[in-house]
């Protein structure tokens, strides 16, 4: 009965029902939309995270350059020992190879529950001195016993006894015994299984479920001058690789520019081909470390300059650093195994010195990433399982670099940060929905006071009214939530794309749907119910008086000022604790971006309290400026307007709060998006060094010197500046130490003209002045703080710089350090030192620039694209260049949290916020009509024209809109500043706060249009009122 009455009532007044439900729908829609957005975005993070990986998993095969040493271990007795019982450990090591092994060291230490029996150690039956305990594991370093040189066919028998301190089952895990040698640095365990050949290992790994491809790669560094053809020798160090065509095909960065891979032949780098002046079919000779040579016919020429899989460092200290060697030769895996590797073995065993850079053999594994779970947190479990399966193939022979799992772990952590961040960005939407529902509830309750009074007169009890309210609330929020759920899904699909959304698992989408709709139902329902319940609890007359004079509860409780006070104190504490700083993410360190997401409470608090404070100020101003009572009113409309807003300031204030909340959210999102995008663009520009970076390809036929930069000054290009730079391209030597370093040689004036120096940090110096000082004082150098620390030098010290390292032109020059810097644009791999290009060219005249930085005549993307096209169609037709732009640098930044589609989320937020702005104004206008319709028809009966009444409604709505919009702009600007500050760690450069006027005006204009539109609609409703009925109704 009650339900059918409520349903009939809701259907009877569709405008009121729809206005109320619109708030619920938009609130739930936004909340669900944000959750769906997170689902869709998380589902694309796996693909985005693994895309830049050069190699998913590297199985580094432990080389056995010391020959085939065999180490075995047995126990006598071998069964389980009770506490106090002893057993003999018998170890045999034997050199089964044809080469001697040097400095063979055997290490053996009893594990937990076992102790070495003093004086029990023997070698070949001769007792060994215990020294500092167990002679096979001496001291805290557990140093093993050095057996010295082990000739081919020679061996030793080592024994000692162990005693159990508890019940122990003997085995290789309990007594860990290993050997190592000068040729074989990595310890090899006793009883290790026989080595599986590389090709077989690759086959076994390739058969593992989830592995897409497993290919052999061998690489080694040859010395300088070891690559030649006839009488011509290439200058500088040489890299020799062993891989086949299948490996090359799996890596797009290995570009065959001429010829192909052929068994028995060799592919050489473009630079080597040019230096040796050879082509396909010509012989090339590699001098191997044992003094032998390998001669092969060139079957292909390749551009390897971007092949990270080949040139990324495998050393722990600088893992993944790209260290390019221009002279490279690639032979087949068979040739590497049969010719190159043995040459290293011979060299290691005969020269008596440890090889500084022994050959590396690895199986590079590519996973089938299409089978990986879309969510990185799940995917990392899958890749870890695959990695474990890979490790179990011929275990203990080598070790694994699980790049993909490391990357996915960071991505998973990033996803968690992203989810929290997005939820925070979505929270205002949810709160706004609740605020809108509460506002609608207030208006609805006001309009229903008379109906409720009538029902009471007819005998309805308070319980009846409360139950009706419950049913009404359930129906409104229930239907609103369902519609909101559908709206949220549709909006997300429209913004994010159906494809992205469909990648998310059904379970996560269902979870989000339930969370969003049920959460939204409860929050908006509570807001609607509480306001209605308060209305029922009041007496009609009391309520009428209160509405006119009594400020809302939040104002009486000073809620706005208390929250703002807490924000101010909290901000002070956060600044003092440097809590906004966070930490940038790093795959290398396995660390995701560290954002202090708890600080996001601040912008939300500012948003709520700021909007309330604005309403407080507005209410106070209106109250203070209300006219004094007078019987002599002049212009009726103006008088009515002033009296209405002055005597009923909280009707205006409540409306303004809702509008301010909406406009503030939209403004905040506009500022946040603009600042975020701006920061990303600045980061990309900073990383690229300028708008365009032109890198001559190794196979480029044209050598462009420092003075030829103007060749790139085509249409749209304003300035071009040459740069010499490469990782580890110089040796920096101080009085204390020396180290390879990344030197940038720049043309100071040109570099200053093309490079963005905004984010450049120099210690106690202006960036531009410091760089330009290189022109005035060419014998100076700028040094990074980090390198200065390492070299233990200060400003004013002289640094010895070996420029053009490993080339015919290499020469050491002395430069004086003039200033220190933290970072400089254009060098993503880092620049340790900066010097004058002119001085570099003077010292090494034959060294051409490595790349050219060019700025465009205008900062827009269209000009950039035209400029790139002009370069491609101009100098690009005569030679091969790699062209990077700030746009391509931005697109490449896809693995970090900064690459998340936050713009999409803010679009979602903003769309709903704008919808809410319209609804808020509509509720205000229709609320006026509901609450004041008797006033309006009385005025008509008194002789006031309908037009004047329309103007009155419009004026009050405009006041709400204007006050809300202005307040919202201010509050939103502050709120956006907080958001940007919290997200600072996402960026290299400190993001500058931007609030584009155009974007900020969108919500304001929309509110204005909504005010106009709803006022017009409202006016029509005034005309349709039945004065006779309304005036006699009591």
């Amino acid at each position: 009965m009650l339900t059918s009455y409520v349903v009939a009532e809701l259907l009877r007044v569709p405008r009121r029902t729809l206005s109320t439900m619109a708030g619920v729908t938009l609130g739930v829609g936004l909340f669900c939309g944000v959750l769906f957005f997170v689902d869709g975005l998380s589902a694309s993070m796996t693909q985005r995270a693994v895309a830049p990986l050069a190699i998913d998993i590297q199985r580094i095969v432990t080389e056995r350059a010391g020959g085939e040493l065999l180490l075995t271990q047995v126990f006598e007795p071998a069964e389980t020992l009770a506490s106090g019982e002893q057993s003999a450990v018998m170890i045999e090591i034997h050199n089964d190879s044809e080469l001697p092994a040097n400095e063979v060291t055997v290490r053996s230490s009893p594990g937990s529950g076992l102790t070495y029996v003093a004086g029990s150690a023997e070698m070949d039956g001769t007792p060994l001195d215990d020294g500092d305990g167990n002679p096979f594991a001496q001291g805290t370093a557990q140093t093993g016993l050095n057996l010295g040189r082990l000739e081919p066919g020679a061996g030793h028998t080592l024994t000692y006894r162990v005693e159990a301190t508890e019940s122990v089952t003997l085995g290789d895990d309990q007594v860990r015994t290993t050997f190592s040698s000068r040729e074989l640095v990595s310890p090899v365990a006793a009883n290790a299984r026989a080595t599986v050949p590389m090709a077989e290992l690759a086959g076994l790994i390739g058969a593992i479920d989830g592995v897409h491809a497993a290919n052999q790669l061998s690489l080694a560094s040859l010395g300088s001058g070891t690559l030649s053809s006839g009488s011509v020798t290439a200058t500088g160090p040489v890299r020799i690789f062993g891989f086949d065509a299948a490996y090359a095909e799996a890596d797009d960065a290995i570009r065959i520019v001429e010829g192909r891979f052929e068994p028995g032949g060799a592919v050489i780098s473009s630079e080597a081909a040019r230096d040796l002046n050879i082509g396909i079919g010509d012989p090339v000779t590699a001098d191997l470390p044992d003094g032998s040579t390998m001669v092969r016919d060139v079957t292909g020429i390749a551009d390897l300059s971007a092949a990270r899989s080949l040139f990324s460092s495998r050393r722990g200290g600088d893992l993944e650093t790209f260290i390019y060697t221009r002279n490279a030769i690639v032979v087949s895996p068979v040739d590497f195994a049969d010719i190159v590797y043995p040459a290293y073995e011979r060299a290691a065993t005969t020269t008596g010195e440890r090889l500084r850079n022994p050959p590396i053999r690895e199986i590079d594994i590519t996973l089938d990433d299409t089978r990986l779970a879309a969510d990185p947190a799940t995917a990392v479990g899958e890749t870890t399982a695959i990695a474990e399966a890979v490790s179990e193939v011929a275990a203990s022979q080598d070790y694994l670099l699980d790049n993909i799992s490391n990357t996915l772990q960071v991505a998973a952590d990033d996803a968690v940060v992203a989810k929290r961040l997005f939820v925070f960005l979505g929270v205002p939407g949810g709160l706004l929905g609740a605020a809108l529902a509460a506002y609608a509830g207030t208006v609805l309750a006001g309009a229903q006071r008379r109906e409720q009074a009538t029902l009471r007169v007819r005998g309805a009890s308070r319980g009846h009214l409360v139950r009706m309210l419950g049913v009404r609330t359930a129906l409104l929020t229930g239907v609103g939530s369902v519609v909101g759920l559908l709206l949220g899904y549709g909006a997300t699909a429209a913004i994010l794309g159906q494809e992205s959304l469909s990648r998310a698992s059904a379970a996560s989408l269902i979870r989000s749907a339930i969370t969003g709709s049920v959460g939204g139902f409860l929050v908006t329902g509570a807001a609607l119910y509480i306001t209605g319940r308060r209305s029922i609890d009041r007496e009609i007359n009391e309520d009428r008086a209160r509405l006119a004079h009594r400020p809302p509860l939040w104002r009486r409780a000073w809620l706005d000022l208390i929250i703002l006070g807490l924000v101010v104190i909290g901000t002070g504490v956060a600044l003092w604790a440097d809590a906004f700083a966070g930490a940038a993410g790093s795959v290398y360190f396995g660390r995701s971006v560290q954002l202090n997401l708890s600080l996001l409470v601040f912008p939300i608090a500012v948003w709520l309290a700021g909007s309330l404070l604005a309403a407080r100020v507005l209410g106070s101003v209106l109250t203070a400026t209300q006219p004094q009572s007078s019987a002599h009113l002049q212009r009726p409309l103006a008088s009515l307007y002033r009296l209405s807003i002055g005597r009923r300031p909280w009707a205006i204030g409540n409306g303004a709060v809702v509008v301010a909340l909406v406009v503030a959210l939209a403004t905040c999102l506009t500022a946040f998006t603009a600042s975020y995008d701006g920061a990303k663009r600045r980061d990309a520009l900073y990383a690229n060094g300028s708008d365009v970076r032109i890198t001559p390809r190794p196979n480029s036929e044209m050598v462009i010197g420092p003075d030829d930069a103007d060749v790139f000054r085509t249409e749209g290009i304003e300035a071009v500046s040459p740069v010499i730079y490469a990782p580890s391209n110089v040796i920096l030597r101080s009085a204390r130490t020396s180290d390879p370093a990344n030197l940038a040689a720049i043309d100071p004036a040109g570099f200053v003209a093309v490079a963005p120096l905004d984010g450049t940090r120099f210690v106690e110096a202006d960036a531009t002045a410091a760089l330009e000082s290189l022109a005035d004082a060419p014998d100076t150098i700028l040094l990074s703080e980090e390198m200065a620390d390492f070299l233990k030098v200060e400003v004013g010290d002289t640094l010895h710089v070996l420029v053009a390292r490993a080339t015919d032109d290499q020469v050491e020059i002395d430069l004086v350090i003039t200033t220190l810097f933290e970072r400089i644009p254009g060098f993503p791999d880092g620049a340790d030192a900066v010097m004058s290009l002119a001085r570099h060219t003077e010292a090494a005249p034959n060294k051409p620039p490595d790349f050219f930085l060019a700025s465009t005549v205008a900062p827009d993307d269209e000009t950039l694209e035209q400029a790139v096209t002009a370069i491609r169609q101009g100098p690009g037709t005569r030679s091969a260049f790699g062209i990077e732009t700030r746009i391509s640098a931005l697109a490449r930044d896809q693995s970090s949290l900064a690459a998340l589609n936050i713009a999409g989320l803010t679009d979602l937020d903003a769309s709903f916020a704008l919808g809410m702005a319209v609804v808020a104004i509509a509720i205000f206008v229709f609320g006026l009509l509901l609450a004041r319709r008797r006033e309006y028809v009385t005025l008509r009966a008194q002789g006031m024209e309908a037009r004047a009444i329309r103007l009155l409604i419009g004026s009050e709505a405009a006041t709400v809109a204007a006050a809300g919009a202005v307040s919202g702009l201010v509050v939103g600007a502050v709120m956006g500043f907080y958001f940007v500050s919290v997200l600072r760690p996402l960026f290299v450069l400190r993001p500058s706060y931007q609030l584009p006027a155009g974007g900020a005006m969108v919500p304001v204009l929309l509110v204005a249009v909504a005010t106009l539109a709803t006022s017009i609609v409202g006016s029509r409703l005034v005309n349709r009122m039945e004065p006779t009925e309304l005036l006699r109704d009591e």
């Binding site: 008797r934 006033e935 008194q942 002789g943 109704d1033």
Partner: protein, 241 residues
């Protein structure tokens, strides 16, 4: 006693309504709200309209006030055929000639007593003669409301509010006063005082007054009573007109 306001009354002839029919269309069909073949009030007189609930008393008053138009028939106030006026002309008619009192006071809750009365005058000022000298303060004083002038309606009793409503209805010196159940929400004492006040004011100003009431005691204060019958459904008895 002739007041200044009364001296400046617009000239209004008799109130006359003929063959009035008001039908409303509803989902259940057409509903006849009023069926009145003839109704007239002489200038300067007062009359009570009585009848059973639903007979169209308030509807008739709405037609006389120009707040609604009849489905059929004519309404004339003096030379003005109200039922034929445009919306704008009816607004001007109300300003010039009409004062209304309702069952509910219908005072604007955010305006003080003097502002509620003053607003009526401000609305009508453009249609009043330049030498129209009506003053809200005088009216309030005359009705004994001066002490309440700066109070808001919520700070008044029901009887006080209705007296303010009367003051509002007469402040611009209307030639016609229409009152729809003016005492319906009051207790007997207050009802008596309000109807006496209305009649006194009507006689002082010389206006024509029509009062809708269901209370014979109220009707007894007026010079004449007109009884309205509940209208027959559409189609029944149309020939009588």
């Amino acid at each position: 006693m002739r007041t200044k306001t009364a001296e400046r009354l617009p000239t209004v002839g008799r109130i006359e309504a003929r063959n009035l029919i008001v039908d409303y269309r509803t989902d259940q069909g057409t509903v006849r709200a009023l069926d009145c073949s003839e109704f007239s009030v002489e200038p300067g007189s007062n009359v009570a309209i009585m009848g059973p609930s639903g007979c169209g008393k308030s509807t008739l008053l709405g037609l006389l006030a120009g707040l609604a138009v009849p489905t059929k028939g004519t309404v004339a106030v003096g030379d003005t055929r109200v039922s034929s006026l445009s919306e704008q002309q009816r607004v001007l008619f109300r300003r010039r000639s009409l004062g209304m009192v309702y069952q509910a006071d219908n005072l604007l809750p955010h305006l003080t007593v003097e502002e509620n009365v003053g607003l009526q005058l401000a609305i009508c000022r453009s249609e009043l003669p330049a030498d129209h000298g009506s003053d809200p303060t005088d009216v309030l004083e005359r009705l004994g409301l001066s002490d309440l002038a700066r109070r808001l309606p919520d700070q008044l009793s029901g009887g006080q509010r209705q007296r303010v409503a009367v003051a509002r209805a007469i402040v611009h010196g209307p030639a016609v006063i229409l009152a729809d159940e003016p005492t319906g929400a009051l207790d007997a004492d207050n009802a008596e005082r309000v109807i006496e006040l209305l009649v006194e004011v009507q006689r002082q100003t010389g206006a024509t007054m029509v009062v809708v009431t269901h209370d014979p005691a109220i009707g007894a204060h007026l010079e004449r009573t007109v009884l309205l019958d509940r209208p027959l459904p559409p189609g029944e008895g149309d020939d009588a007109h």
